[in-house]
């Protein structure tokens, strides 16, 4: 359940950005979660929902954008989409030799309410 400590980091980032921009409230937060980042999106969303009570994110809508990973097949060299780290090439069933993307875990944007 590292999702709780990560949700706390998100709260910190939101707080900092809201302060910097003199926001009255945050109405929406968008977070990118790569499929291979090791984050369970549902657990993370629940954790953030719990922690945001009474905070600047209290009434914010939490948008989670899933990012697919791209594997380079070790056998045929073709690029294929990955939902999980153990996904194999759909053509030759081999594991990837290299993975591009899918490890994203970042706060992309906020929609804030201003005076």
């Amino acid at each position: 359940m590292h999702e709780f400590s990560l949700a706390e980091e998100v709260l910190k980032i939101a707080r900092q950005e809201a302060e910097k921009n003199k926001a009255l409230a945050v109405s929406e937060i968008t977070i990118e979660v790569g499929n291979m980042s090791g984050i369970e999106p549902d657990a993370f969303k629940s954790a953030l929902g719990l922690l945001s009570d009474g905070s600047i994110l209290e009434n914010a809508c939490i948008n989670i954008l899933r990012i697919k990973g791209k594997g380079i097949c070790v056998t045929c060299g073709k690029e294929f989409e990955m939902d999980r780290r153990v996904d194999t090439c759909p053509i030759c069933n081999s594991f990837p030799s290299e993975i591009k993307g899918g490890n994203e875990f970042r706060v992309v944007s906020l929609i804030i309410e201003e005076e």
């Binding site: 953030l48 992309v108 201003e114």
Partner: protein
């Protein structure tokens, strides 16, 4: 970072849905009270013209990664080899460290940072073996993070040209994400675990450099096939090295000691 990690401790939090959900508490005439939540369609009367989009683009682990980088610079500056030992609970990390300390203490300065949810048991074992140890109790937290290591190294007074072992919390999931500033990550698994562990916990195997297969003295009694395990691990991480040991009997341990000293030399090249 982890003080609020709510594992097993949901008390103190109230559940808040990030939608427009309202909770109502009613007391009925017969005296019973219940709470229920429902969603409403709202007509928002306020105007949206005062809303503004802020592009943030901040990596959520950036604060941890920054602190980990500072720890790494500290180790490089002092020529300290730092190894982060990860595994499931019960793989034998502490026993491996006890044996390692007894073997290397005469030639190297050694230090250990112990991570556990509770108790000082492991740090006491390590101190008994002869190395200064700091225990980090994470409470309900499931991993060590770079800030905890930063605080621990302030207390350890680490001498230059030494070796620091970090024994992470026994957990194959959460510690994978948290860079501590180590030079190499060592994953320990024991032959009483499944051959499919690398496929079940790919992130940890992917981020490790060496895999110690421990409790080799039990191989005749279990179904674990080291070749099969290594094959699975190689599917996830082609560069992972393996050393098979029995910390109990000492079998294979010299390979591990050689590996440590080799890494020590490499880390000095920075």
């Amino acid at each position: 970072m982890c003080e609020t990690c709510g594992c097993g401790k949901p008390e103190g939090f109230t559940i808040h849905e990030p939608k427009h959900t309202h909770e109502h508490e009613h007391t009925h005439e017969d005296g019973h009270t219940h709470t229920h939540a429902h969603e409403h369609e709202h007509d928002h009367a306020h105007e949206h013209s005062h809303e503004k989009v802020i592009n943030v683009n901040i990596d959520i682990l950036s604060q941890n990664n920054l602190t980990a980088q500072m720890n790494r610079r500290f180790f490089e500056g002092r020529k300290v080899l730092c190894l982060n030992m990860v595994s499931s609970p019960g793989s034998g990390k502490t026993t491996i460290l006890e044996k390692t300390i007894s073997h290397l203490i005469s030639s190297r300065k050694l230090y250990v940072i112990e991570g556990d949810q509770q108790t000082l048991i492991d740090s006491e074992r390590i101190e008994k073996a002869g190395a200064p140890a700091i225990q980090i109790n994470t409470g309900s937290g499931c991993h060590l993070d770079a800030h905890m290591i930063e605080s621990a190294i302030k207390k350890l007074n680490i001498e230059p040209n030494s070796i620091l072992f970090i024994e992470n919390v026994g957990n194959l999931v959460c510690p994978a994400m948290f860079d501590l500033g180590e030079y190499k990550r060592v994953i320990v698994i024991s032959v009483t675990e499944g051959e499919d562990k690398p496929l079940k916990y790919p992130n940890m195997f992917e981020s490790s450099h060496l895999c110690i297969i421990n409790k080799s003295d039990l191989l005749p009694y279990v179904d674990f096939r080291p070749e099969e395990f290594m094959k699975n691990a190689a599917l996830i991480n082609l560069h992972l090295e393996f050393i098979t040991v029995s910390a109990k009997t000492g079998e294979g341990m010299s390979l591990w000691y050689d590996w440590i000293l080799e890494q020590f030399d490499h880390s000095q090249d920075h």
